[in-house]
């Protein structure tokens, strides 16, 4: 085994009551790509933030290149050649690429010389690693893939030998992710050590040399990637056997319940976000909309569910038209049998400061059964909430707990239980498993299939291509606001990936 670039010995960290890292010891060999997998909340990001000096461990030691390193702050980590690409980019949105790269590594008190030095250095890095990016572009104008490149450049500019990437592919298209992996392999060839944190097992298999699995704050296993399987890693992550494939029978599509015709939506700046989109969703089928985040899926969902106004087009719900130009009222649509699981549960799905029981009726609170004259019938609401908690296995099983105190997966189950238990005709679901752990994903997927088999029309939007492929009966691909293709559920990942990147469309135009 090669020398360890990093060795962690007995790292322990708590945040209040949460024991995020328990006595973790881990060796990362130099010059390798080392994967760290685990469910959300397993403590991966905490561990790496400790290594980067962003948090301080309560106990334990860090050795870098065999020498004991006292890393108290990120600048200590940077000084020892550790760089980190955070899941949420640490970029200043209105700065240029150059300004972001030099921030904290300026050298002199005046910017003039440091900027020109950085410009030359960026050109060199661009040549050596294929990391092209316009140094004078303002970061917020760049697509996320390039923003991530700026983060990598930032680390390399600071002379990082060890690069930590925290969930780097969440925002990337499959093609961009492949490009990233090529960059990582190149970095490895140059002798750098890469630590890749992810919950996507396929990425681990594709690019890493070794992989460590974390569960509930501990490292439960470390394997050579070549000697393990996706199934084994999944089982190690969750602690029990997991069905990675969703089992479902053939769909039996019935009448059209949701029909969208020539829908066009513009945002506040007047940019067309949804461009002349038409499709149908029938009873008893799941229609999946694939696409890279930001290609109009969110706006499409918000328009169909009455949150956003359309410029033109029609939506028909169970045979009756929906008024899109006026204020299509989400409450009215709900009453007519449309349920909506929003993409961002924190932003739209839940009031985190509310009790679980309050969230479990939100939007349906005007219904007679939750009311006692003008007042809420608290007893009825709570007993209703307790039923849902049991049926959807929401933990902890306490309907009076503040919603913020539930894990991501359980919060999502609260939303799903609320919407599905209304027995809607049409179920609109956005990112059903974003930030949800593997165990809960399995549960949520089963429920969605169940809704389909009960004759509901399900429209599923997800940026997780695997999820779309596993659940959908038909797949629509969205790119730049348009539906650029429809494929069967059996379509290959590569084919869908090209559509998602808008490649096929360009070729067709030529």
């Amino acid at each position: 085994m090669a020398d360890a670039a990093i060795e962690l010995v007995g790292i322990d960290k708590s945040f209040g009551m949460v024991h995020a890292n328990r006595n973790i010891s881990l060796k990362i060999p130099a010059g390798t790509i080392h994967g760290i997998v685990g469910e959300n909340g397993a403590g991966k990001s905490t561990l790496m933030s400790i290594l980067y000096g962003f948090y301080q461990a309560d106990r334990g030691e860090i050795l870098v290149g065999g020498k004991r390193a006292d890393i108290q702050t990120p600048s200590d980590a940077i000084a020892r050649g550790i760089g980190m690409v955070h899941q949420h980019f640490m970029l200043v949105h209105n700065f240029t690429v150059l300004e972001n790269v030099i921030l904290g590594a300026e050298g002199e008190p005046l910017l003039k010389t440091s900027i020109s030095k950085a410009r030359a250095e960026l050109q060199r890095l661009e040549r050596d690693y294929g990391l092209e990016v316009d140094p004078d572009a303002v970061v917020e104008d760049l697509p996320v893939g390039l923003q991530q490149r700026v983060e990598i450049l930032k680390a390399l500019y600071r002379g990082a030998d060890i690069l930590i990437l925290d969930e780097p592919t969440g925002v990337l298209t499959p093609a961009e992710a492949d490009h990233l992996f090529r960059i990582l392999r190149q970095l490895k060839e140059e002798g750098k050590t890469v630590v890749l944190i992810t919950h996507k097992l396929r990425e681990i298999m594709a690019v890493t040399d070794n992989v460590s699995v974390m569960r509930q704050g501990t490292v439960v296993a470390t394997r050579k990637t070549g000697e393990t399987t996706v199934e084994e890693l999944a089982e190690l992550m969750v602690g029990r056997r997991v069905l990675l494939r969703v089992e479902k029978g053939p769909a039996r599509p019935g009448e059209v319940l949701l029909s969208v015709r020539n829908l066009t939506v513009r945002d506040a700046r007047g940019v067309t976000m949804v461009d002349n989109v038409s499709f149908d969703v029938r009873a008893g089928e799941i229609v999946g909309i694939a696409g890279v985040a930001g290609n109009g899926q969110s706006e499409l969902l918000e328009t169909i569910t009455g949150i956003r106004k359309a410029v033109s087009g029609t939506v028909t719900l169970a045979g009756r038209p929906v008024d899109l130009t006026g204020a299509a009222d989400p409450a009215e649509l709900r009453a007519r049998g449309m349920a909506h699981v929003p993409e961002d549960r924190h932003h739209m799905g839940l009031v985190l400061a509310f009790e679980e029981s309050e969230n479990s009726i939100l939007g349906y609170h005007r219904q007679e059964r939750y009311r006692n004259g003008p007042l809420l019938d608290v007893d009825a609401i709570r007993s209703d909430a307790r039923e849902k908690i049991e049926k959807y296995d929401i933990r902890p099983a306490d309907c009076r707990l503040r919603t913020a105190n539930f894990s991501g997966g359980n919060q999502q189950k609260i939303v799903l239980a609320r919407e599905m238990e209304q027995d809607p005709k049409v179920l609109i679901v956005g990112q059903p498993t974003r930030g949800v752990d593997v165990g809960a994903i399995e549960f949520i997927h089963k429920r969605l299939i169940e809704m389909r088999d009960r004759g509901k029309a399900v429209l599923l939007v997800s940026v997780e291509l695997d999820e779309i492929r596993a659940l959908s009966d038909r797949i629509l691909v969205m790119f730049a606001g348009r539906i650029v293709g429809e494929r069967e559920a059996q379509a290959s990942e590569g084919e869908l990936g090209l559509l998602m990147a808008g490649v096929e469309q360009k070729e067709a135009a030529e």
Binding site: F15, Y52, F54, Y55, T73, P74, S75, D76, A77, I78, M84, H86, H88, M90, L91, V92, H93, N94, F95, E99, N100, I102, L103, G104, A105, E106, E108, P109, L110, L111, K112, S114, K154
Partner: protein
Amino acid sequence: MEFFNTLIFLLDSTIRLSVPLLLAALAGLYAERSGVFDIGLEGKMLAGAFAAGAAAAISGSAWAGLLAAVGIAVFLSLVHGFASITHRGNQIVSGVAINFIAAGSTIILGQAWFAQGGRTPSLGGDARFGSIQLPFAEALSGVPLVGDLYSDLLSGHSLIAYIAFLLVPFTWWVLFRTRFGLRLRAVGENPAAVDTAGISVAWLRYRAVICTGVLTGLAGTYLALSQNAGFVKDMTAGRGFIALAALIFAKWRPVPVMFACLLFGFLDAFSIRVQGTGLPLIGHVPVQFMQALPYILTVVLLAGFIGRAEPPRAGGIPYVKER
């Protein structure tokens, strides 16, 4: 010619009246660009004015007054910083508290020390920053237009007024051409980016509020030792808030801040000028309306004409690293 004289007079008062606004607005710019909202500009200016008046009265030196004003204003800034940076308190509450402390304590201390109803004794000579005649002002005063502009408008202000206007390009330079400025702007937009780059968020923000303290101290000194001959209770009269309005109006940029302050200064000068007299065509305008104009203008222009003023993204939010 009389119109010309009136205009010169009006512009001259515009400059005089905009100096404290400019200093306070630039002061606010440093804090707010670093992500610390400072509604306590008013209080710091007032405390600074009192300290300047008191120290100058006792020592007989304007410089001692300036030193005292800057000292007390920096101290109050550090209190604000301690509450909002170190203890992550609510920045509005902390700022309001400073305003109240300044309003109350200046009167109490003024009465206790000088027993003139909250005023400090009248100052003269070396105890004030008097007007400075620029070179050749005398000689050029006879030359039509250019000479009059030079000698009546540009010449004859106090040292602090010249400093205030020189601080505009200086602040621009600091903000956009120095390492400190780059970091200052970054910490106001995304403190986590600064933290992960290995820079202390707290120390950076403390330095920003110290800058704010120095400039509000200057603003207070100008009020007590240049515009007036001593401290009078509540002499800031809301200028700290108008300065905040100017800062928002100018979208937190130094050069537009200067123009916003000149505009507000002009409105102030104009309202004094037309006080009691009628305007042609419009007739008599209530003085209250003229005094409210800066605020009305800010709201109207921000709402419709100059677009949304986007504050620094991290403004007002204490930086919490650990979850």
